[in-house]
């Protein structure tokens, strides 16, 4: 956003008083951070399209094609072939260093590109071909290149290989887009990292190579110099897995050294400014050190972490960024800033702020459903801060504070933070958390650490010390960062459009939007004489939808090692390096699966309306209700208003509807124990939305809560419907507190809007702190806040150019308000502003 001189002439105090936090940030941050922040090409899509100037990168496709052709004469196992393809890409892709930058690395070849790996799927490739806005200039010439890539990869992609492995009827239902989304593969979703192996200062990639080479030598010896045994076949597989790891680890080290070489060339031949020369030499030294060896200082540690993430995003499309930066980088911050004083706090702030910026600029071309479901961002990169050490002591530190302050300086919408709150968090840290919320970032979200540690142990049997290492696997779900606990790939396909459950009660499982019998044909609802029959049908459809989604993901995970291996992710995972098995092999993973429940609360409000108005008060018959729903409420407006106004709504501390919420969740929880992941663990529900409530608006038919086809759905999780929570914030918390946040599901998202004017100053902080105390006492696991006034948001709708930097909490993520659709904007404004 171009700086308005009149605004920038104002004092910081004046801007703070007017809560113009984005201008405050611009005035406070260093010259370097200001340049780098403004240099970001936003990679989140708006209205399903990328921002002007953002183009798809063709390099990976052509370099991949070269590698495939070279391999075609002597085909190799898929993991080795892929490792060679990735190595060829890392060795030959264009790399760049931005002016003023101290950290380097990007998924694409140029700053304005979104990466594209056409070996992933034909559907994605066709979308790109049909997205002229993303084709690089000159368009005609590059469209031909895109066509060449699409033609070359057709039939060779991961999608082409994996779809035949699925039950086709189930796959058709999932791919219809009505009940879930995405193709369940290990190269698309949310990949955790084995941080305890990688980020504890014990090893770099060269050290892992030594471990891998030792395994290769031992296995080679067994296969070639000893009598054949019956496990020789699996030894050959392992040999190939380690060989693939070796190829990719060596390539990653070479890639780091390419940046070192570029930085040295620039320092020696192009740069005249002595300070910048020094910085370039430091970049060179850093990239000569990492990823080959363990970092020695904060810059190396951040660079190492960035490389680890970017290499993973070269191998797969990753929609999340599980991370705990204040925990794993803290030893280096402590050494540099506090003990050795080799850098001061301001220099550290530059590095931390740039680390956020480097993440914010990452973009991979995403399919339509993702672009619509994650408006304004590239993925849900929720970084975890705070929490405890494995022994239970407070892990918050000066770097926690530095990250929170850096976030207010650079004001990126992605990554966002989630803060692991526990009773021992110091007041000075809580104040920094609050300042981020007060500054309208919409983050950090607050997570109840003791409760979520307990939840991890309850659902997945993670041992206490491992459970305490948890990070956000995506928006919400905790996952340890340990050898057997970390989750290599959470496939987004186990994401249920839950409003379909109650819709199918009235359509007998037939989906009228996609014209498909989706779930078993239950009895005609007109014949129901008792509410229990409604609940029975509801359970049939719930079990069927969740079962369909889980089956697909289980299958995707089971065949991943063979069909969609992850040689890089395996190479940086202790369990794979040790065993010679692909990281996705379920036998070496404890399992941490969950079903994401989009559009969940519609079920509860709908069931409450049916129970009250049809069965308890008998104001309407089931026949009348079925007719009204079939007509999308058209011609039944008075009846619709009765179902909206006279039925109790979730979030008002009303036992009538709250008990139904608990009953539904407990029914699901029971089924979650029956469902098994390939590691033998359970599948709990996690109600939350990204912007799926808008994406699904035209997919979900009329519902008994008064909603019509096309209306925005609720904003998700266990958040009350927008404007339907009329009894104040404590009533919302009390309703949510009736849920057992350990036994009834994996986690429960709660959106709340607070008044920025009420929460100004010290009094505002104390009010918020008291609110958090009540939240914790009532046993909730999550809450996140929007603290931007209606006035500002409406002004931003009228004059978006002036409000480019206003950030809002959409659901499990934040976005710049101007980067989300009008429908989503309206949905956020409609949320009740709670006075506390």
């Amino acid at each position: 956003m171009a700086a308005n001189p009149a605004v920038l002439d104002q004092s910081i105090e004046s801007l703070e008083k007017n809560q113009q936090w984005w201008w405050v940030a611009e005035k406070k941050r260093s010259r370097r951070l200001d340049y780098l922040r403004k240099s970001i090409w936003k990679k989140g899509a708006v209205g399903g399209l990328y921002n002007p100037g953002v183009k798809v990168d063709l390099e990976q496709g052509f370099l991949g094609m070269e590698s495939w052709q070279a391999n075609a004469i002597f085909p190799e196992p898929e993991n080795i072939r892929l490792a060679r393809e990735l190595a060829h890409f890392l060795d030959n892709k264009t790399i760049f260093i931005t002016d003023h930058a101290q950290l380097v690395g990007y998924v694409g070849s140029l700053p304005h590109t979104v990466s594209w790996d056409p070996s992933l799927g034909e559907m994605l490739n066709e979308e790109i071909y049909n997205d002229p806005s993303a084709i690089p200039d000159p368009v005609d010439e590059n469209l031909k290149k895109v066509a060449e890539l699409c033609d070359f990869w057709a039939g060779k992609t991961l999608q082409a290989r994996i779809i035949p492995a699925f039950d086709l009827e189930g796959m058709m239902k999932v791919m219809s887009g009505a009940i879930g989304w995405g193709l369940p593969t290990s190269r698309s979703g949310y990949a955790g990292k084995d941080y305890e192996y990688l980020m504890t200062g014990k090893r770099g990639f060269a050290d892992i190579l030594v471990e891998v080479e030792k395994k290769l030598d031992e296995t080679y010896d067994k296969l070639h110099n000893q009598p054949p045994k019956r496990d020789n076949s699996s030894l050959t597989d392992k040999l190939q897995t380690w060989e693939a790891m070796k190829i990719i680890l060596e390539a990653c080290i070479r890639h780091g050294k390419r940046y070192a070489r570029l930085a040295r060339i620039l320092a020696e031949n192009y740069e005249s400014d002595s300070k910048r020369k020094e910085e370039l030499v430091r970049i060179a030294e850093t990239c000569e050190r990492v990823p080959a060896h363990a970092p020695r200082n904060l810059q190396e540690s951040l660079q190492y972490d960035l490389f680890i993430q970017l290499f993973s995003r070269t191998e797969a499309v990753e929609g999340a960024w599980p991370s705990r930066p204040d925990y794993y980088h803290w030893p280096y911050y402590k050494k540099d800033v506090i003990e050795d004083k080799s850098i001061n706090e301001e220099a550290a702030m530059d590095l931390v702020g740039e680390f956020l910026i480097r993440a914010a600029e990452v973009g991979q071309y995403k399919p339509r459903w993702t672009k619509e479901g994650l408006q304004g961002i590239d993925g849900t990169w929720v970084w975890t801060l705070g929490g405890v050490y494995p022994d239970g002591t407070d892990a918050c530190n000066d770097l926690t504070v530095a990250f929170l302050r850096a976030a207010r300086m650079v004001r990126v919408a992605n990554p966002t933070f989630a803060f692991r709150w526990h009773p021992k968090v110091k007041d000075e840290v809580m104040r920094e958390v609050f300042e981020c919320i007060r500054h309208g970032l919409g983050y950090p979200s607050i997570r109840n650490d003791p409760l979520l540690v307990q939840n991890s142990m309850h659902w997945h049997g993670h041992p206490l010390e491992e459970a305490r290492t948890w990070v956000h696997q995506a928006c919400m779900s905790p996952c340890p960062t340990t050898k057997h606990g970390f989750q290599p790939m959470r496939m987004a396909s186990a994401t249920a459009n839950c409003a379909k459950i109650v819709e199918y009660v009235f359509t007998q499982g037939f989906d009228k939007v996609v014209n498909m019998q989706m779930t078993p044909k239950t009895d005609d609802p007109r014949t129901f004489t008792d509410f229990e029959q409604v609940m029975e049908a509801w359970n049939v459809h719930m079990r069927s939808i969740f079962g369909l989604l889980v089956s697909g993901v289980n299958r995707g995970r089971s065949v991943a090692s063979r069909i969609t291996p992850r040689p890089y992710l395996s190479a940086v995972s202790e369990r794979s390096v040790e065993s010679g098995l692909d990281v996705c092999d379920p036998s070496i993973s404890r399992g941490n699966a969950w079903i994401t429940g989009f559009t969940w609360v519609e079920n509860v409000d709908s069931l409450a309306a049916v129970k009250k108005l049809v069965f308890d008060e008998k104001r309407y018959t089931m026949d009348e209700l079925c007719k009204a729903l079939e007509a999308n409420w058209e011609g039944y407006e008075q009846m619709r208003l009765d179902f909206v106004r006279d039925a109790p709504k979730w979030g008002n501390d009303d036992d009538f509807v709250d008990n139904l919420m608990v009953r539904c969740l407990q029914d699901v929880a029971k089924y979650s124990r029956e469902l098994e992941c390939p590691s033998g663990n359970s599948w709990p529900l996690l109600p939350e939305n990204v912007s799926g409530n808008i994406h699904y608006a035209n997919m979900v038919g009329a519902l008994p809560n008064g909603r019509r086809l096309g209306d925005a759905l609720y904003d998700g999780g266990i958040s009350p419907g927008p404007g339907l929570d009329k009894k104040g914030p404590t009533a919302v918390l009390k309703s949510c507190g009736k849920i057992d946040h350990v036994g009834d599901g994996r986690a429960f998202l709660l959106n709340q809007r607070l008044s920025p004017s009420q929460l100004a100053g010290e009094k505002g902080y104390q009010l918020w702190k008291a609110y958090i105390r009540t939240w914790a006492d009532l046993g909730l696991d999550h809450v996140q806040f929007n603290m931007v006034s209606d006035e500002t948001l409406r002004a931003a709708q009228r004059d978006p150019e002036k409000y480019q930097e206003v950030i809002v909490r959409v659901a499990g993520y934040s976005a710049h308000f101007v980067d989300i659709s009008r429908k989503t904007q309206d949905n956020i404004i409609q949320r009740t502003i709670q006075g506390i």
Partner: protein, 55 residues
């Protein structure tokens, strides 16, 4: 016929003399940056609009 190794933007790789890096500065609407692209030293530069002879 000029080759990459004759260009002032080309920096030979001592470890792999057959290759080197083509270094270019770009200023786009948001930022300035230097790129490095791996090149063969003997590559024909006929199709390269940025060729700039060292001599």
């Amino acid at each position: 016929m000029a080759q990459c190794k004759e260009c002032r933007n080309f920096f030979s790789d001592e470890n792999q003399p057959a290759f080197g890096d083509c270094i270019r500065k770009t200023v786009d609407p948001r930022q300035a940056y230097f790129t490095s692209k791996r090149m063969e030293a003997l590559r024909d530069t006929n199709d390269c609009p940025d060729f700039s002879n060292k001599k």
